[in-house]
């Protein structure tokens, strides 16, 4: 295991940011710390980096006890949400910073900087100032800067949080590809479940200072440990008192299977290829159902239709 977090507690005044958190993050993988804002995930990342200190508990990185090491000695790369660019330095100088601190010979620094700028596709901007770059370019620069020191682990704190949706998606694909090339152990914090599901090898769900579940994206999606994980990883609705995903509900206009829950459609909302129904069941439950446009047409569903709802086979329910 690359990063071993054991029984870490952290309070800010009365606020409990981390409550006895223990987690192991595997070497060479891309791990997401996923959870709502204020849940403690950024605090955990900063404690791993040494930028904050834990009240109690221990951290080890690649077998090295790091609990009391200052950030300078942890050999980590850190990428911040708001880039944290050195504004008065050129892009190349930003990337070279860590190498210059380590007093590497000039030709080596130059070679390494060029190599990294190539990797993040910023070669033609080497002499620009950060202010002359777009947000996405700035974040790629920050990533190159962090990678320059050949860190044992790369830590990213909401790296795409400040970018607009399109750039965010591009960068997230790009991060995945970069990780497949570079293979450095990477941990990134996000509150966006889609981002975590799409990019990460492993996801740690953190809420209210506690680890709710650890697993691969499939494990979390298909077998959520509790209500929270279930509802945080995707849309949910209730059917027969259980949490279920709206697309895991089968709709019929005739009473087919026994045990089907009967109700009437109170609202039909069409979003592109998808149709979202709000069904008021006869026992008074409000159920959201998602089906494809084709299916909705075939069934001839409109507002006021009587419908019979069933969970599909293999549906995830909590």
């Amino acid at each position: 295991m690359s990063i071993e977090v054991k029984n870490v507690n952290k309070r800010f005044g009365d606020f409990v940011a981390l409550d006895d958190v223990s987690v192991s993050l595997p070497t060479g993988q891309l791990t997401a710390l996923l959870g709502p804002s204020g849940g403690g995930k950024s605090t955990l990342l900063r404690i791993i980096a040494g930028l904050d200190s834990a009240d109690s508990g221990s951290i080890s990185i690649e077998g090295t006890e790091a609990t009391h090491l200052p950030p300078q000695k942890r050999n980590i790369g850190f990428v911040f949400q708001h880039y944290a660019a050195f504004k008065h330095m050129s892009v190349a100088k930003n990337v070279a910073f860590g190498l210059e601190i380590r007093k590497k010979p000039k030709p080596e620094i130059e070679r390494k900087v060029n190599e990294l700028l190539d990797l993040v596709h910023l070669s033609q901007f080497a002499n620009r100032l950060p202010a002359q770059l777009s947000g996405g370019q700035r974040q790629r620069m920050a990533l190159a800067r962090a990678l320059a020191v050949e860190p044992t682990v790369l830590l990213l704190d909401e790296p795409f949080g400040a970018l607009d949706a399109k750039v965010r998606k591009e960068l997230r694909d790009w991060l995945r590809r970069l990780h497949d090339e570079v293979h450095v152990t990477t941990v990134f914090v996000t509150h966006d479940q889609e981002e975590a599901l799409e990019v990460a090898d492993e996801i740690v769900v953190i809420n209210q200072g506690r680890v709710e579940q650890v697993g691969t994206p499939d494990q979390l999606y298909d077998a959520p440990a509790n209500d929270f994980v279930m509802s945080f990883l995707g849309d949910v609705t209730t059917l027969g008192g259980e949490l279920i995903r709206p697309h895991d509900i089968e709709v019929d206009v005739t009473p087919g299977e026994p045990g089907a829950i009967e109700g009437s459609v109170s609202r039909v909302l069409r979003i592109g290829f998808e149709v979202r129904l709000t069904v008021l069941t006869d026992v008074g439950e409000v159920v959201t159902v998602e089906l494809t446009r084709t299916n909705a047409r075939r069934l001839g569903i409109a507002e006021g239709s009587r419908v019979y709802l069933n969970a599909v086979l293999g549906a995830t329910r909590v």
Binding site: A49, G50, L51, P70, P71, Q72, R74, I76, G77, F78, F80, H82, A84, A85, F86, K87, H88, M89, S90, A92, K93, F97, G98, I101, R102, A126, N127, L129, A142, R145, A146, A148, V149
Partner: protein, 251 residues
């Protein structure tokens, strides 16, 4: 532009015209007067010294005000402006009662050059603090964390990351502080004693020329002060740009 002209340009032009009214020899006469020359030397020298001190102390005070937490911080933040807000003659009285002949502190600076230094330092204290403070407040601590994660010690982070960001503000404050220093009158006139060749500053010299009815001489000293102030502001600006760029672009 008209407002600016009325307020600034026309009076400035009037001074220069007045001074040149007597022709070049008025300048030459006034400036070769050893008493005037000593006054100019003292004023400019002391102001430079005080400005250098302010650049260091002002930055430290701003840092403490922005980054540290301690009881009474809000009060200190308020008090910083007092030397600036106080009518200068009141500042002079304060200094006189503290450091004058019957000083409660046992410090006797009356009629010495230290009095000039003290008075100028007193009234120019807020300038650098107030220019640096907002820049520090705006600066994200992320940048320092980033430097630390890249292996930079606190000292290196300060020198290579924090200071370059503050330099323009420090120098802007320094220009203001220097300009105020060379023009100071009220706060030092009481404590310094205005001894010719010893503690007499330029503005006092201008005043005595005026009292003697020699307006042309007064105007020519004023013109010299004007030129010195301009030179100082321009050169501080140039230095600030140099320093800010030194670590910047490649090469």
């Amino acid at each position: 532009m008209i407002w600016f002209s009325l307020l600034v340009l026309i009076p400035l032009a009037a001074i220069i015209v007045k001074a040149s009214g007597g022709g070049w020899h008025t300048y030459a006469d006034t400036l070769s007067n050893s008493q005037t020359l000593d006054a100019i030397k003292l004023t400019v020298g002391t102001s430079l010294l005080v400005t250098a001190l302010n650049m260091v102390m002002g930055t430290i005070i701003a840092w403490v005000l922005v980054r540290d937490r301690f009881p009474g911080k809000a009060l200190l933040d308020l008090v910083i402006d007092i030397p600036f807000a106080l009518p200068t003659i009141v500042a002079g009285l304060v200094l006189l009662s503290l450091y004058g002949a019957d000083s409660p502190l046992g410090l006797h600076f009356a009629n010495t050059r230290s009095a000039v230094f003290l008075a100028i330092a007193f009234v120019t204290l807020p300038f650098v603090v107030r220019t640096v403070q907002p820049v520090l407040e705006e600066m994200e601590t992320d940048v320092e964390d980033a430097a630390a994660s890249l292996g930079a010690s606190r000292a290196v982070t300060f020198r290579r990351v924090v200071l370059p960001t503050l330099v323009p503000a420090i120098f802007a404050g320094a220009s203001l502080s220097f300009a105020r220093g060379i023009s100071e009158y009220g706060s030092l006139v009481l404590l310094s004693g205005n001894l010719p060749h010893r503690t007499e500053v330029t503005s006092v010299r201008v005043m005595s020329y005026l009292e003697g009815g020699d307006t042309a001489a007064a105007a020519s000293v004023a013109t010299v002060l004007l030129v010195v102030a301009l030179l100082a502001i321009v050169s501080l600006d140039i230095i600030a740009r140099r320093v800010a760029r030194r670590d910047g672009r490649n090469g």
